[in-house]
Subunit: 428 residues, 2 copies
């Protein structure tokens, strides 16, 4: 691998994806002698860790999705392009993207940063996606909100007790952080928020199932915290079903192991698969993606054989680095530091090392678990820390303040006020 | 007309529509010996006067659309039904509605309150609705936001200057308060908010046209205020075209009088037509709706020949009462007072009289016009009053606070942060 030639102003960096990795890479290049083009299909960054709160009516979509143009407006060397990447020419160093104007655009690059994230992984059962949507985009969250709140509305009117009970059954597949947080929120909706809102149904009778093939919730956590999270979930009324693989999903039921559970609302939080752009690039570079479709990258986060191509976030497979937001941010910063060093002919930074500052997952009011630098936290302290960390990392001071207002009211009134059931959104 | 028999607890009031009229009627019946069923297709009330701010990225949809169930949660005698009214049996005193559960429900009533509002009126040109959406629902606002912000995004990428200029042309048809406020906001977006966000296009070159067949903007206002509003709009860069009827709309242009103006974004704010339920009821009651499809009602707001049926808000035609939110609120309160008096055999209230507390329309930062009790206001005082009045009437303290935060930031930063361009929403 020969080093990239030190650049001049005019060194073109194309970043694909405005998630944590792409956005932190772009910001990390502020003031450097490069031209940054950030390409995204959507016009907004998305604070994915709070997406489940949009799905459960705690927050409004705009509150966790600042426009990319606003975030980068003061950065003179960065431009945003709303476009769908269709091809990547590794040999010719150019990205082809279908723009929001309908035309194809060819974007030549000197350095490419691939950070297009991941989609929901149905592990060979893509036919389940309609009946068990994943939670990866604003449209997903809005659709899941429509289903959850709509199920309570339909149950209120439904005369048949068998159908009513299916409507009041909610199944979350996957007991990682997203699944745990979502199941906890649905349980809180049913037990604390909605009981007084409905006349005919007892929303506290709703069943919330959290299902996973693995033997523990929050797989990567210390066993004691996993146990505590499972206990907290059960205290909230969530039925935690472990070592229970999902065998089938249809519009009327989920089959868990051998049992058919009638339900109208299933959310798939069981796994992710890297953006299809990873497979495209893998084919061209002659490398093999991992099981999650991710591209194996070296300790400098570049594609093997292509020092000018960085692969970050959920598209990258790096030993010992989990698929979490802080890792994506750190990768973004590292790539920016590498690019800066190259173009200014400065010493390169040390190889990428993920700094685990800790993990936190909230289960409900006053309930959370986390591990910070070897310290295990649970209950109220973990919950307060969770709130503080998420407010801090939310992009934009205005959104922080608005989310703080909403959380304060949710806490004080046990209400959820972002509950518009919108028309069906075409996803994709 | 014989008086309605004084009721007992159990007197069934069915209210169709959770807008200002229906919601104020429901609230006015709190504590009265009646059973209230509020039927709406949507699960939320909608603060329509601020809908244009959702369309222009100043506010998020949930912030002006509190769930009906939350608003009425403490009112023990009121239930909310999410259902689409399909038939009204005036003789048999029952409403048939298709519930969110998919079934038909028959709702017998002792008193019916019709407050289903209005749709956009294309005056015989319904074929224009796809290319010139109206602004009546959350879905409309989200779609218009998608078109406005999407046009800037497409223009940024568009190589053809002729197409680019069409993309940067925005036409608002109808110079009533909604049209004036929307045109003002689009102009502010183009001139103050977006210039730094784009690289290739000069957003300040965008054209915003406000078109009306009438000779004045804000038709019902004092001529001096109309003139002032037109001047304020022009100062913001809006091209105000009066006595300019729209002759045609298609996907690529609007024809104004004889001139074909290429554009990709047209919003129709030219008129409303009462909900189709008005025509249904008119047919059954053997009365003639007015030109706007509204039902003429007596000074007690009841349907001629049907003292048990109230018609309120945009469905009702009452001499001297404009189609504005305060009138709908007052009608709702009046109907509630009538119903209470009847069921408790108390003296009936005086016939309905609209109390004009004034009108206000904002054009932009520091610019507004209004007339309050004969006093004409303009400029900064009118603008501050507009802000205060709208915050006061917004339903829900939390929403007031969130909207206050957003407005403060918009004011201080000249930004708009609720700018998610969502996927296409199926309206309907």
């Amino acid at each position: 691998m020969e080093p990239v030639t030190p650049g001049t102003p005019g060194h073109r960096v194309v970043i694909v994806g405005g998630g944590f990795a792409g956005l932190y890479a772009a910001r990390g290049l502020a003031g450097e002698p490069v031209d940054v083009a950030l390409v995204d299909r959507r016009n907004h960054h998305l604070f994915q860790p709070l997406l489940y709160q949009v799905a459960t009516g705690a927050l409004s979509a705009d509150e966790i999705a600042p426009p990319l143009r606003s975030v980068l407006r003061r950065q003179r060397n960065a431009a945003v392009l709303l476009a769908d990447v269709e091809d990547i020419d590794l040999a010719g160093q150019a990205v082809t993207a279908r723009g929001h104007d309908g035309h194809e655009h060819r974007l030549p690059y000197d350095t490419l940063v691939l950070a297009a994230g991941a989609d929901t992984n149905y592990f060979g059962h893509d036919e389940w996606s309609d009946d068990a949507p994943g939670l990866k985009s604003i449209e997903d969250a809005v659709e899941i909100r429509r289903r959850i709140l709509g199920a309570f509305e339909a149950a209120e009117l439904e005369p048949d007790p068998v159908v009513r009970s299916a409507l009041l059954t909610f199944v979350v597949v996957g007991a990682g952080p997203t699944g745990v947080e979502l199941a906890g929120q649905i349980a809180e909706l049913a037990r604390d928020v909605l009981p007084q809102d409905f006349e005919r149904i007892d929303t506290t009778s709703a069943r919330v199932l959290l299902v996973d093939a693995a033997p523990h919730v929050l797989g990567g956590y210390h066993p004691r915290l996993s146990e505590r999270a499972a206990r907290d979930l059960r205290a909230l009324g969530v039925e935690v079903r472990l070592e229970a693989p999902v065998a089938a999903v249809d519009a009327e039921a989920v089959t868990i192991a051998e049992e058919r559970v009638p339900t109208r609302t299933v959310v798939w939080a069981a796994g992710i698969r890297a953006s299809p752009l990873a497979a495209l690039v893998a084919g061209k570079a002659g490398i093999e993606p991992d099981r999650g479709g991710r591209l194996p990258v070296g300790p400098d986060l570049t594609l093997p054989g292509h020092p000018e191509v960085f692969v970050l976030g959920d598209m990258a497979s790096v030993d010992g680095v989990p698929g979490v937001a802080p890792a994506a941010m750190q990768m973004g910063r590292h790539a920016a530091a590498m690019i800066s060093a190259r173009v200014t002919a400065s010493p390169l930074p040390d190889p990428f090392r993920y700094r685990d500052r800790g993990t936190l997952a909230t289960i409900g009011r006053h309930r959370a678990v986390g591990q910070i630098r070897g310290l295990r936290l649970k209950g109220l302290p973990a919950w307060v820390l969770w709130l503080a960390v998420h407010l801090t990392y939310l992009v934009g001071f205005q959104n922080r303040l608005v989310v703080f207002v909403r959380w304060s009211f949710s806490y004080l009134t046990r209400g959820r006020s972002a509950r518009v059931i919108p028309g069906r959104v075409s996803r994709g």
